[in-house]
Amino acid sequence: MADAPPVGPRRLGRALGVLRQSRLALVGALLVGFWVIVAVFADDCVISPACWTGARSYTPTPWLAVYSFSESVGPPLTGPAPAHWLGTDRNGRDLWARLAYGARIILTLAPLGVGLALLVGIALGLVAGYFGGLVDEVLSRLIDALIAFPQIILYLVIIAALGPSAANVVLAITLAGAPGIARLVRGLTLDLKTRDFVAAAQTRGEHALYIMVVEILPNASGPILIDAMLRVGYAVFAIGTLGFLGLGLPPPSPDWGSIVNAGRKFIQAGHPWDALWASLATATLVVGLNLLADGWSEETSRYR
């Protein structure tokens, strides 16, 4: 105990400990981990530096994505078969390859959007909670106003106004997520700022920014982390919905929502595969994130 390990490895060790203790978190981690691996290794760019600089175009990894997501590689509208594991779409593109590349999109945009929402939300929440009074009043009403909108309407308005693009999807997720995070952080801050260690920092004459970021924020990180995991799940849903409504990334981008939308016309024609696989992919990723968050919060609260 006398020589406690430095903070980094200790955090990692605790994270692994949670996975060992909670079967729920483990299943979630496996589901999420599956899609992360698929997304990372959809092509060989990750392992070939020449591709990063644009000196060479990517090639789909033969052991994972196998085919390109944008080229016609077989007869259109086939079911699962050894040549095309999940079948092909109406343009003869390999569905598995499209899902794999779609995972890459979703797993970039969703965490990016949530990350930005965290930055905005934490800043707003800390300021509102710590200063209180009029500042809190103004910020809280603003937050309430944003929360009062159904999220889907926020998304639609933003994308409809700014046009469908990856940057605008991220912006929409940020704007829709930040108020909820701000409200959570505000509540945690209200509690934490009454603790004596905050008073001790104040009597030391510390700057308000120091107190918020150094004294309060680390103690709020647990609930924020769990909330963020859930929010990534919601963001995955949101991106899928936008894609389905035709407001996601423009074709031929293999966005999962667009795949469902394109495939829905062929369901009654006896080719449900597009819609089915893309829906399943979305579902497994979201369920995985939820299980991970649930298991994590259960395990961490048990030690309190």
Partner: protein, 699 residues
Amino acid sequence: MNQTPPPADIEPPVVEVEHLSLSYATRQGIVPAVRDVSFAIARGETLGLVGESGCGKSTVAFGLVNYLGRNGQITGGDIRFQGQSLLGRTPEALRRLRGDQIAMVYQDPLTSLNPVLRIGDQLTEVLTVHRGLTPAAARARCLDMLARVYMPDPEQVLRRYPHQLSGGQQQRVVIAMALLNNPALLILDEPTTALDVTVEAAVLDLIADLRRDFDTAILFISHNLGVVARVCQRVGVMYAGELVELAPCAQIFADPRHPYTQGLLRCLPKLGRRKANSGLYPIRGRVPAPGQLPPGCVFEPRCDYARDACRQQRPDLRALTAEHASRCLFAEEIDAGAWVPAGDLELPPPAAPVLAAGPILRVNDLKAYYPGPRNSPLAFLGLGPQQFVRAVDGVSFDLARGGTLGIVGETGSGKSTLVKALIGLEPLTGGTVEFLGVDLHAPVAQRDAALIRELQMVFQNPEATMNPAYTVGQQLERPLRRFHIVPRSQVRAEVIRLLRAVKLDEYYYDRLPRQLSGGEKQRVGIARAFAGRPQLVLCDEPVSALDVSVQAAVLNLLLEIQREQATTLILISHDLSVVYYFSDQVAVMYLGQFVEYGPAEAVYAPPYHPYTESLLAAVPIPDPAVAQAHLRLEGPVPSPLHPPSACRFHTRCPRRALLPEGGRICEEVAPPWQAAGDEHHILCHIPLAQLREVGTSPK
């Protein structure tokens, strides 16, 4: 007053506990929480169980009512209740056998009362459901019972919700509820710990009366030896899950025969002991965890008398006389009177305050108000007249350099707000404060760093005083870096010096707060406050959350650092003994005002302000041989939103009748400061001669 002899041994005891052992199953395996505890309680007798936290007192109580939780179990021994064993029976059979015969009262009355039901509904339900009484009959009996626990205006109380009652009234309701079924055994688990000292005194009186009236056997659990001395006939001392001494109350205090009991009594600051003429002797080490007990006597690692034999066998609880039993191999030899402190514990006398340099702090007519609720119908628009909670309302004093000012008073007297206003955490509403010749009107955020460095604070709650996210070292480094106390390269060395100054080893540098005990956290809090070598340190109840043995060590530490750095201290405490022991000057505070101020010896001797006198009469003294005046305050502390007119104490003053016309002047004219000599001042209308007379009158 409570020394009635125990009843003759014709009747069998109500409850007999024989060699009881209890265990909890935890992640670390089976942990023996209580081992080999034996005692019996007769009708009309009160047995006290004392010990520090974690010694298994409450576990014994939970074992008696079979409320150990899912992971607890009785692993040995027997509990016989009214002659029948309670062990090995199904829960249903237990329930029938025990019936309503055992009642339990917990520390926090609010956890026993349902917040959404009226008191009347909760009380009558006990009788209508369990006894089948009609609502009218149940109501009549409840009224009767509330009257017997001295509840003022029982009719009103029945219509109230729990949150509308004060803490003392809530505890009375809970006790009344426990007594409704006329139990044979009443278990009181720290029933007065959450209450103010004046309220505590009234509840203790009640408990003593009830034992006589109801002829109930009472098991009284407390960490406070003074409380136990007041209500118990016999006392059992628990340590690390074992009963180490069991004796009549008077003998425990006069002639303790176990080193732990002796140690506990030595580390208490008693009324009448001062830092100048006596020391507090903490027990070294700490209570072992139940999973890591020493092989021999459980107290051996902390014992001053330990010999080889103590390490080899675990002693049994053996009878020294018919009534006195001790779990010490050498109980006959150890004499509390002959004990001398080990050399390193002896404290040098404190340095006298340096008065020449003039006062370090000058407070004149200090006011700190909080905005209160608005009662006007326009309130929801944020309009209507603003009311103020007058937390501190006109306090003036000078503080000498190097001295210690103690401030005592009940909850809500404004003592915490006073220090928070001084340090700049709460805004001043009026008055002036001058510290080192500098005006202290600005909130802390706008003060100069050099000024901030000279004025620091030690906080009350050891659990919240440290940031759980950082190691001890990181938290001690911050003030050093911030105030540039030492060059950057020497910060680590200075932190280690600070740790050593508060008697912690170097390896605490990398510990996280959750790896520390309450006392250790408080030490780090003290180290942090003194890191910048401030001139004035404000201590807000620094020891009230700590066990007595730890409390003594922390008080000694504060004294030592104060002496080394010649710091001036302001100590806030609700514990009058601690304040008397520690302070040079004492101020007694009531509803935002000082009512008495002066040197400690003068304040704690007649003439008293009637409030001071009531507080002193209420303090539970850990010595049943000491006679105290019987003076009890009526009613709750009035709201600081609408403090009483003129003299704020007139609504509760027990000495008002001394003045003509029943003290009408107290309601109409603000009392004057009367000088009682030697810088001793009393805020009262009653002439000093009369106050001196009633203060010294035979008890």
